[in-house]
Structure formats: C-alpha cells, structure tokens
C-alpha cells in the first residue's frame, strides 16, 4: 500500500484518454465508449480492493 497505486491510476487514465482520442479520430465512437468503460471498471476493481482494506482496518481498530 503506497503511492504506486496513485501513479498507476493516473497512467491508466491518461492512456484511456489517448485511446479514446485515437478511436474517436478514426470514427469508432462506440468502441471508444467501451474502452473508457473498461478502463473505469478496471480502476474501480483496484480502488474497491483498497477501500475494503481501509474499512477492515478501521473496523479492527475501532472494534466496530
């Protein structure tokens, strides 16, 4: 758990933006939408893992 994840998400975001631009420029709007969605879902899985990690830590500390 460190700042790596932050950079990872930033890199994926920028790459998805590039993919979106390229696909839109080539006239494939629907596929561009799909890549954006795929990127969002991939990042979401990574984020949710960390959020659940935080929740379990807080739960053990505060005896919730």
């Amino acid at each position: 758990m460190s700042i790596d994840l932050l950079f990872k998400i930033a890199a994926i975001g920028i790459l998805v933006a590039v993919l979106y631009q390229v696909l839109v420029r080539a006239g494939r709007e629907d596929q561009a939408m799909m890549t954006t969605l795929a990127g969002l879902i991939i990042v979401l899985t990574m984020v949710i893992k960390e959020v659940s990690n935080l929740f379990s830590t807080v739960r053990t500390i505060f005896n919730l």
């Binding site: 990872k8 890199a11 994926i12 790459l15 590039v18 993919l19 696909l23």
Partner: protein
C-alpha cells in the same frame, strides 16, 4: 524474480506493439498490391494488343516483373493454364493467393476470367480497361482507408500494451 517479471512485461509490450504494426501494415500493403495489379494489368493489355503471345507466356512474363505476392498469382495462373481453361485457371490462382486484398478486390479481378481466351482482341482489351478502372476506384478507397486506420492501429497496439503492462505492474 523482479527482472523476470520486467522481461515478461517488456515482451507483452513488444508483442502488442508488433500486433498493432502488423494490422496497420495490412492497409498500406493493400494499396501497394492494388497498384501493382494495376501495373500488371496494364502490361497485360499492351502485350495482347501488340504481340500475339499465348496468355500463359504473357502471365509468366508479368510474374517476372511484379513484386512476389502479385507475381505468385500470375505464375500460378500460367501454370494452371496448362491443364485448365484460362478463366478457371485465373480464378483458382486468385483463390489460392496470399495477398492482403479484400474479397471485393478479388471479385473484381475474377470478372476478368469470363473473357480470358473467350472473346476477340477488342473484347479482351475493353474488359481489361474496365477492370483497371474498377481497380482505380478501389485504390482510392484503399488509400482513404489507410489514412484513417493505419495510424490508429499502430497507436492502438502500443497504448493497449502499455495499459496491460501498467495494470500488471
């Protein structure tokens, strides 16, 4: 352990970039091959207009002058003609060719088969001219397609590879 991981990641990146480049190459190869075929048809037209060589010989001669993928079609056709009708031989050669041409391009070229060895000189020449004109529009199509897709696929391959690598790191 870490070096192995990074080597594998580099391989993934390289492979996806390579796939992108291969797909993008398909478009420029198609343009090149169409131009080559047009040139070959031109030679063919001149040959049957001014010399009275049999078609297999003309095809063999064209095969000598073209780039390998196109030459293969003419070479196959000229070999096939020894035991098949000219039209059938031409169609078979087209079906067995390993070019990047689309089905439509092949269909246009197959239109030649009806007249090969069946009509008189004028009929053949006009048929070849017609095919050349069709190929011309196809070249324009292919160039438009290439401008649109070539760069996209190259960037796509690299970006997808980078994304996979970043997700896996």
């Amino acid at each position: 352990m870490i070096t192995v991981k990074f080597i594998l990641l580099a391989i993934i990146l390289g492979i996806s970039a390579f796939i992108g480049i291969t797909i993008s190459k398909k478009y420029s190869t198609r343009v090149k091959e169409l131009k080559e075929i047009q040139r070959a048809l031109h030679i063919f037209e001149e040959k049957i207009k001014f010399t009275y060589q049999p078609i297999p010989d003309v095809f063999a001669e064209i095969a000598d002058k073209c780039s390998p993928s196109i030459a293969q079609i003419f070479f196959d056709a000229s070999v096939n003609m020894e035991y098949q009708f000219a039209g059938v031989a031409w169609e078979n050669a087209l079906d067995n060719s390993k070019t990047k041409l689309t089905k439509e391009d092949i269909d246009i070229l197959k239109g030649l088969s009806k007249m090969l060895g069946n009509t008189d000189l004028d009929g053949q020449v006009s048929e070849i001219r017609l095919t050349e004109k069709f190929i011309d529009t196809k070249i324009k199509d292919a160039e438009y397609e290439r401008n649109k897709s070539e760069k996209m696929y190259r960037t796509l391959g690299l970006t997808v590879g980078l994304t996979i690598v970043i997700i896996l790191v």
